[in-house]
Symmetry: none
């Protein structure tokens, strides 16, 4: 099956918005073996959109359209769909109910323009928008599939995950070749070191494919295996995963889309332990990331964002003399913060960070990117020094990931030096 | 002048690489008033590329191509250029010198495949690659301009900045039309309500363009104005901005790429005020967002992530009976949290949030998405109830934005009911 992706929006053409929708759709369709032949971006302009609809239907089996479904005058995608398929609009009751529900939930009055969003082309099956008012459209005609979604990324993603991908997968099931993919999530190791430790890849892979996908917080290893059937593909995948784990297992914290905060949360629940955080330079990012997980109140007790020295002393009982002697960014203060938040909160674990995120705040002996992470539990109090880069927001991310990884290693008994 | 951007590369289709090249080129061409009509991504495949070259030349004055110029077998862009323009390759001495120089600099021996990169189509003016071996191509034919660049972002950018953009600007100087753009950032108002409050857009715009760009945290209004010269365009832009501000000014927190956290930070600095945060449901996101701004230690004192009831009582002095009577998610607790963090930290402002982010934690009278935000300063203690959606992470974002917006409104004396 060949797919043609059409992204609609002036903001995508003039470089104001990066087309992450096409990235998401391309990735998800590839995963289910749909071949993307073209990605096109055009303006919110009727004739350009119509031209592209025509090309897409001609050249491919599946046309995926995003954008231009909003309620205002500059959104013309639905009008184009009606013209292209020579159909007409009809008010859909379920869609209208969904719009009404969203408005009443937000305590807002339903406006005429929003009510008009319940009008859908007769030819289409509307796709429920769980996050907004514009419905998607699923159109089957002449053995071709034409799918339209809103351009708002989270609305589009929810439609893809909840409706479109399951339905497409079902349609594709009978096709024949089995492809299996898995991802091993690593952190705390550079792409090149990872590659060196893995050694001769041909020996490990035996025809399968391995991609290194680096990001700010770690390197993902994506393994792709092809076989005659599901069972064989699955077995081969497991075999390759084991070979990789033998070589770099300590750096692998999770699989597929698992995040480090999920893994840490699971480990804490298994051990029936509670954690509290004390953050200076990350400003609350560690606590916020830990509490991104639903149910985190079972193991997250409190977090202190001790930006000022006064807050370090008053809430965490850090010694004023230690700050005066070693500075707020020091191993000594990081350890006292960790110990302080552990004991004042009555938690089993205290994790603390202090550092210089930049671009300002550096001194001769303390460069931008310098971070100390302290960790205390019932048995040990330890810490580690890191030097990250120059970018403030990236440094916050890296510090957060390193702190969570330190908790993971301590819980699993892995040495911090590894 | 109309431009057509063609990006070549399998990795862009399967979602492995985000097409940031097109973003860069789109932005840079827009800045010099070149109108991008389409961005297309195709595979490293001869027939797809040839089709696109044909369409590009037909539909536009300027075709910009990136990618597929590498030395390996899967790079076919140059071959396509030769076929498309029915021309032939010839070794270019300057290009060969550049390649030799790069190799000697890296202490590597020149291979045959790399030497072959010095072959350029006779019809083209080669563009020097200061960071790699593949030259770019500048081709003028039948009043059309056809430019080819490597896909490696820093190689492409250097060619754009050093050669292509200056040359294009020179060519465009005599053309005569000036375009100006600006963005007004709104929050706390839905796209449809914004549209209704603005009313008849034609009256406001008088030929200019207005785009509504919604995101999780607000709607951006992008105004685009065209006039005979820079001065006139600028004046017209200012005029339209003022008309929009008259109608929805209270919802506009900033212009262009300004964020709410920057605006709040600036207002606090101007007033020489300090803020502290008390967060339950957002788990530290408000503090983390405020401290994303370099220099925020000037106005951010501390943040308390009081996830447990114990932490609310111990650190923020919230009354245990109030929690027992009204629940932790209540207006009463939100206000006590705000007051508590203000007074215990000695800050001028305390802002506090408590809510149910979901998917779990709801009860009959307290649904997922329910949030109370409390605000206290020297003069007032106030609060507001919100009901957001079902998605935990989006709810965190929306709560954060609403809290910062409440601080902004209080500092500017704007009513919270508006």
């Amino acid at each position: 099956m060949n797919a043609y992706i059409i992204s609609i929006g002036d903001e995508l053409l003039i470089g104001q918005t990066t087309n992450t929708n096409a990235v998401f759709i391309g990735e998800k369709l590839s995963e289910i073996n749909i071949n993307i032949i073209k990605i096109v971006t055009v303006a919110d302009d009727e004739s350009s959109i119509m031209d592209e609809f025509k090309l897409g239907i001609e050249k491919s089996d599946l046309v995926m359209v995003t954008g231009g479904l909003g309620p205002t005058h500059d959104d013309v995608t639905r009008t184009c769909v009606v013209k292209f398929f020579d159909t007409e609009l009809v008010e859909n009751e379920e869609v209208l109910e969904n719009i009404k529900m969203l408005f009443s939930k937000r305590n807002r009055e339903l406006t005429e323009v929003n009510r008009a969003q319940a009008l859908v082309p007769i030819i289409s099956e509307p796709i429920k928008n769980t996050h907004g008012t514009a419905p998607g459209m699923w159109i089957e005609k002449n053995n071709k599939l034409f799918i339209v979604m809103p351009g708002v990324p989270y609305e589009m993603k929810a439609m893809m995950n909840n409706f479109i991908l399951p339905k497409l997968s079902e349609m594709l099931k009978e096709s024949g070749i089995a492809i299996k993919r898995s991802i091993l999530q690593t952190t705390g190791i550079a792409e090149s070191t990872l590659s060196e430790r893995l050694g001769d890849l041909d020996k490990i892979l035996d025809g399968a494919k391995l991609a290194f996908l680096p990001s700010i917080v770690g390197v993902k290893l994506r393994i792709t295996v092809e076989a005659e059937d599901e069972e064989k593909a699955k077995n081969k995948l497991v075999e390759i995963e084991q070979k990789i784990r033998t070589k770099v297992g300590r750096f692998i914290y999770g699989t597929d889309e698992e995040t480090l905060e999920e893994v840490v949360g699971r480990l804490l629940i298994e051990r029936d332990m509670k954690i509290s955080t004390a953050e200076s330079c990350t400003g609350g990012l560690i606590a916020s990331t830990l509490t991104n997980i639903s149910g985190s109140s079972a193991y997250f007790e409190r977090g202190i964002v001790c930006y000022s020295n006064a807050s370090k002393v008053e809430i965490l009982r850090v010694d004023e003399d230690t700050i005066a002697e070693h500075g707020a960014v020091s191993m000594e203060v990081a350890m006292q913060m960790a110990d302080g938040v552990k004991s004042t909160s009555g938690s089993d674990i205290g994790i603390a960070v202090t550092g210089i995120m930049g671009p300002t705040g550096a001194s001769t002996d303390k460069p931008v990117g310098l971070v100390y992470i302290g960790y205390c539990d019932e048995k040990v109090c330890t810490g580690k020094k890191f030097i990250f880069g120059n970018e403030r927001l990236l440094n916050k991310q890296r510090t957060m990931q390193a702190a969570l990884n330190m908790v993971r290693k301590q819980l699993l008994g892995i040495s911090l030096d590894e």
